[in-house]
Subunit: 232 residues, 2 copies
């Protein structure tokens, strides 16, 4: 009579689960180095090939990091690490889902902007102002977009919630913008954005959460409604 080995799924899936377990129960801590692929494979009772698949999976999920020639390490497990894959949704979701993603962004960004208004310090505010100036002074589209992303990123971080900031960043990524706004980045759109950004900045400066919230919501809503009109 054999021992009832509860084999569920592939050996690779099991290995993924076991490593995840080791992290949740504290056996593996952030930054810690793991045994070598060969050792791990031996300990968990599978081949190195399958072990590598498990490691690769946890690598793309932002849980592990493999350094060629050195070893395998647990990441810091910070929001940015684990939410790396969130960007994928923005990248390959069907067009129909883009408006839903923008809606989520609007919800999160308006909340983040409101919270930023309540707690932003002078230094952070100066950083935001700097990006605002850059957007007003440049006429190059690429530079404008870079400053735009930095502007929103700085605000999201000023809200003091790394998870929130990480999600917002990935919903404002370059590739996402490219998918949504293709053909919409004309002079009018830039002028509109400059106005919106000014309104957001003034609300932050005034430490007025509600004004910040509505300004941020309106800013995203412009893109949102433009996209909706495009889908018809």
């Amino acid at each position: 009579m054999e021992v009832a080995t509860p084999v569920k799924g592939t050996v690779t899936q099991r290995a993924i689960g076991q490593i995840k377990q080791m992290i949740t129960d504290g056996t593996l801590e952030p930054g810690q180095r793991l045994p070598t692929e060969r050792d791990l494979a031996a300990r968990l009772g599978l081949s190195r090939s399958s072990m590598r698949e498990a490691i690769r999976a946890l690598t793309v999920l932002g849980v592990l990091e493999a350094r060629h020639g050195s070893g395998i390490y647990v990441t810091r497990l910070e929001a940015g690490d684990l939410l790396e894959t969130f960007g994928l949704v923005a990248e390959i979701s069907p067009k129909a889902a883009l408006v839903e993603l923008l809606e989520v962004r609007r919800i999160l960004e308006s909340a983040a902007t409101a919270q930023a208004a309540a707690r932003i310090d002078e230094e952070q505010l100066a950083t935001v102002a700097g990006h605002l100036t850059t957007m007003h002074e440049t006429s190059d589209a690429a530079d404008f977009i870079t400053a735009d992303m930095a502007f929103h990123g700085a605000i999201a971080r000023a809200a003091g919630n790394d998870v929130l900031a990480a999600i917002i960043e990935r919903l404002s990524s370059r590739t996402f913008r490219a998918r949504v706004q293709r053909g919409h980045e004309d002079a009018d759109a830039f002028a509109q954005a400059r106005e919106d950004h000014g309104r957001i900045y003034r609300a932050l400066q005034a430490r007025d959460p509600e004004a910040a919230r509505s300004a941020a919501a309106a800013h995203v809503r412009v893109v949102e409604e433009w996209l909706r009109s495009q889908l018809d």
Copy 2:
């Protein structure tokens, strides 16, 4: 003189990028079947082992689905598929990040509940009512939690945004609850939850978005503040 092959990263990473590209540019469509592992490896110019790692990576990301004996298929690429990994954040984030995750959940859930109040139909409302009844009638903790999750899930879906609902669901998963509320699921907590849920339901019934929003926010905030107190 060799041709300048822009080899960036491992061959597996390149293969992952190439398949992602095929999906974004429409070469591969949702539900479509891919060539066999062996064919793909040959076409992209790498070994089957490395190809398998790429496929495994895209599998855990919810982009591909491998069926033993049948083939490899693109998933439907719906929100639920691609956001599967979001649950990982809730599962293995360090404890310190849990409060930030709850804060995100509060933001999203209050917005979703408000929107649900504005557009929920009678059938959906009846479903919500059913879960509410179950929570009132049962005295078993497991049953209560199941109904609780179904209650919030039904509301999130009634908001009409699949992405939003998928994220909320993963921020309310069983494992996440277990991590947050360990030791907090006593009779008082259940009683409190019943009251909160009643308030949310009445707001939905009255089609009052603002009441729904504040009721949902208050509901999550209770857990949030309890957790904050535990971290000291």
